[in-house]
Amino acid sequence: MQDYLDDLESRSIYILREAYNRIKPLGMLWSIGKDSTALLWLIRKAFFGRIPFPMIQLDTQMELPEVYEFRDMLIKKWGFEFHAEMCPPEEEMDQTLPPATRAASRKTQGLKNLITRDKYKGIIVGIRRDEQAMRAKERVFSPRSFDGAWDYKDQPAEFWDQYKTEFPEGTHVRIHPILHWREIDIWRYTLRENIPYVPLYLAKNGLRYRSLGEKNITTPIQSNASTLEEIIAELETTKASERAGRTMDHDSEDSFERLRRSGYM
């Protein structure tokens, strides 16, 4: 019998196969966090054990050391094509942005550099609708203009599993295969499939990371959940927002929107 995780999985596999068939060249942003690592697992499922396109990390060299450790371990264990894209320094960013948002915008710039240089037509990103109100507006196949801008007011029609797979020259598409998953689904799936994850998600001394950003803009939350089962139990009752530990989102009510419109993940 199919249970609800099987349905989520099947849908993601379908999207990944559509992307791989319709759009070339294709790359995926692997942030090394729980979502994009579960997505990496889904890619292996979709392509019968293969990972047929490169994994890219937008690297600010500001991730926590455990993150880098996990990254190197998994590349070795699963053996896939990997590329770390170095993001430009913060001094080069738009100085009118609030400080934490400015730090995040380094990744936006890194992504732009990557696409300009390597001519990717499709970038797979592991975002979910339930993360943030703005992400709830996303399409599964979301076209971006040349500079990465997202026109959220004029998005393509998307229904009946038919996606926008044709584009004018000079544009690319973001593909969101796990848009329909929730945080709790990711953890349940990680547990069921025994997918590796960065240990920072588990509580130590009453603190754990719920979301992993760079070390200067993410803080752990108070929690005693030290196993995946406990994390799942915690999520079943919490009302706190997932990104509460991310400084940037509180800078101003509009900063996330400004970031995303200009090409942030």
Partner: protein, 635 residues
């Protein structure tokens, strides 16, 4: 774990400002779904901006929306009741945002139609209701909102209920229930409004939602496994795809459409599976390996042979149009049908539906946000199902210039399965006789072949009309070609002089070639003076049923006055011998199929008359023809 129980997708639609966003805000609040701090955060923003707090602000995550106070795009919002999880798809009511509403509603299991108690049923109320019907949504509840503004009057509720029920009945929708609510105050949403509306005895909105069921995957339908891709890893060929209907079992013999080839399932593949997979059902993304190396590609549909989809060249669909450019007869579009892509031509617009009174509107184009019944025609055979039988293979999206510009569900009316025809040609490749009856070509082309024989004096307008008509037919997707003096004298008749015998032979050859063209399925238009009845009779004999004589009439004086090539002048001077009308007779047709008089009618009117006549004759009764063909072939 209640959280792990099924999830129900609910779309909320209705006229702008009737209270959809407010209702959602309220639903979230009353089910305790808000993230801590969200309500306070928004109240603070409102205070800072000096605006009154609205429940709808909870949803309007974008600055832009707060500025315009209308919801822009589909948002998905989660909440849960004791029974299960819900995802609300917020569909905006603004007219040009139909695109987003469709994008949202297509994911829903059930719908809430919001109607303002004071304003009543409005244009978008009707349009959205119709669209829900078109999208196949059957679980619909109506809420009459803002009951506080009509003094919670039972009378008003009854009156509106009657109106909306009548309309919904007209489009074949029976609402599950009609509930009086006041979203702003939470009346009859999570809690029964016993004080305000003691007269209402039905279920609250949340109780109603809990009664609905998620749309189940069509497991008990005939197998449909559209091929998404083919991978070759380590010498293994994986046919990848998602089972869209029914069940696939190891050992099944699959028929692939449209190629009609068969192969047996050796294994069903899912990476990481610890045991041998014996079957997979609707909803599962899998791979299969086959015992035969038959050619299989994306877009092929695998089924079991006794319950295969139909193979057709033409189908009718109920279409909603999102394109900024209108849909027109004769236009070509790309369609996506499951994983298959094909080019289709709009053969006819059978009905444009006015959502206001559901009347038929006579139009030859479909504009943005309109809905219509369209007959499409495709060169390739398409494997499909009527929507009623299998939704996944019974719907198309229409693409123009990179964009999805429409969607449609396929009607069971007028689908004529061509599979027998295909079968027979393959089994009998050695045979010399034509195995294809003319009707088979006619169905593929969407019209029969014909010889349209224009006759008349020089200068009567035959060539001009022929070219204009050819163009008109072509733009309607008709296969057509003009034979005239210029193109036949170049090769086919280059050996002929202009003696009387040679002219007769010229007409004979044109008659034979035109007849072959008609047999091949084309509409051949000939533009020759062809002054003699005997010559034209011979052409009619060659063409048989397909032959149509059209007399392009104009009196000699007029033609001589027009004299476009200066031929009359030369003839009068004796420079051309045996010139029709001057030095040689013209025998007008005795019983032409059509007469157009170019002295009394303008060229446009004549083009229209001829075009209309041709379309009527080559397309009329096409369906009848096909049924008789199907009978013949299987006999």
């Amino acid at each position: 774990m209640s959280d792990q129980a099924q999830k129900l997708g609910v779309v909320i639609v209705g006229h702008v400002d009737h209270g959809k966003s407010t209702l959602i805000g309220r639903l979230l609040h009353d089910t305790g779904s808000f993230m801590e701090g969200k309500l306070e955060e928004l109240k603070a923003v409102c205070a800072r901006r000096n605006v009154e707090f609205e429940w709808s602000f909870l949803l309007d995550a974008f600055q832009a929306e707060r500025d315009q106070a209308i919801t822009i795009d589909t948002t998905q919002i989660w909440f849960k009741t004791k029974k299960r999880n819900y995802v609300i798809i917020d569909a905006p009511g603004h007219r040009e945002f139909l695109k987003n509403m469709v994008s949202g509603a297509a994911f829903a299991d059930a719908a809430i139609l919001v109607v303002d108690a004071k304003e009543g049923v409005r244009e978008q109320t009707k349009r959205h209701a119709y669209l829900l019907h078109l999208l196949g949504l059957q679980q619909i509840t109506v809420v009459i909102n803002k009951m506080d503004m009509v003094g919670y009057a039972e009378e008003r509720f009854k009156e509106l209920s009657k109106e909306i029920t009548a309309y919904l009945k007209g489009i074949g929708v029976t609402p599950h229930s009609i509930i009086p609510i006041a979203a702003r105050h939470g009346d009859n949403i999570a809690h029964k409004a016993d004080k305000a509306m003691p007269w209402f005895k039905g279920l609250t909105l949340l109780e109603t939602l809990d009664v609905f069921e998620p749309i189940a995957a069509p497991v008990d339908r005939p197998l449909r496994f559209p091929v998404q891709d083919v991978y070759r890893y380590d010498e293994i060929r994986y046919i990848a795809g998602r089972v869209e209907a029914g069940k696939i079992r190891k050992g099944d013999v699959l028929t692939f459409s449209p190629s009609n080839r068969t192969a047996k399932v050796v294994s069903i593949e899912k990476w990481g599976s610890k045991h041998d997979i014996l079957s997979a059902q609707a909803g599962e993304s899998i791979g299969v390996t086959l015992d035969q190396p038959i050619f299989v590609a994306r877009g092929d549909i695998a089924s079991l042979s006794d319950k295969a989809p139909v193979l057709v060249n033409a189908f009718r669909a109920n279409v909603f149009w999102l394109g900024k450019k209108p849909l027109k007869v004769g236009s070509h579009y790309k369609i996506k049908l499951s994983t298959y892509e094909a080019t289709v031509t709009v053969q006819s617009i059978d009905r444009v539906i006015s959502t206001d009174d559901l009347s038929r509107v006579e139009k030859d184009s479909v504009d943005i946000n309109e809905m219509a019944e369209i007959t499409f025609h495709s060169r390739e055979l398409l494997a499909l199902d009527p929507y009623q039988e299998n939704a996944k293979l019974g719907r198309i999206v229409i693409v123009e210039n990179h964009d999805v510009v429409g969607g449609g569900i396929i009607s069971s009316e007028g689908l004529h399965d061509m599979r027998h025809v295909l079968h027979r040609t393959q089994d009998n490749l050695h045979a010399v006789d034509h195995l294809l009856a003319p009707a088979a070509r006619a169905v593929r082309n969407g019209h029969r072949g014909a010889v349209i024989w224009l006759t008349g004096l020089s200068g009567a307008g035959k060539s001009t009309l022929a070219m204009r008509v050819e163009h008109a037919l072509f733009s309607r997707g008709i296969q057509t070609y003009v034979l005239d003096g210029d193109n036949v004298r170049k090769g086919l008749c280059s050996d002929l002089s202009f003696t009387a015998e040679a002219r007769t032979e010229n007409i004979r050859r044109v008659g034979e070639v035109a007849a072959l063209m008609a047999d091949a399925g084309l509409v051949a238009i000939t533009a020759f003076i062809s002054p003699f009845r005997s010559d034209r009779r011979r052409a009619r004999d060659a063409g048989g049923q397909a032959f149509h004589e059209i007399y392009v009439k104009a009196d000699l004086q007029t033609c001589e006055k027009r004299d476009p090539k200066g031929l009359y002048k030369k003839a009068r001077k004796g420079e051309i011998k045996e010139f029709t009308g001057i030095s040689s007779p013209y025998e007008p047709p005795e019983a032409p199929e059509l007469v157009v008089d170019t002295t009394t009618h303008g060229i446009d009117a004549c083009v229209e008359m001829i075009t209309e006549y041709i379309i009527k004759t080559i397309r009329g009764d096409l369906r009848q023809n096909v049924s008789s063909l199907a009978g013949k072939v299987s006999a």
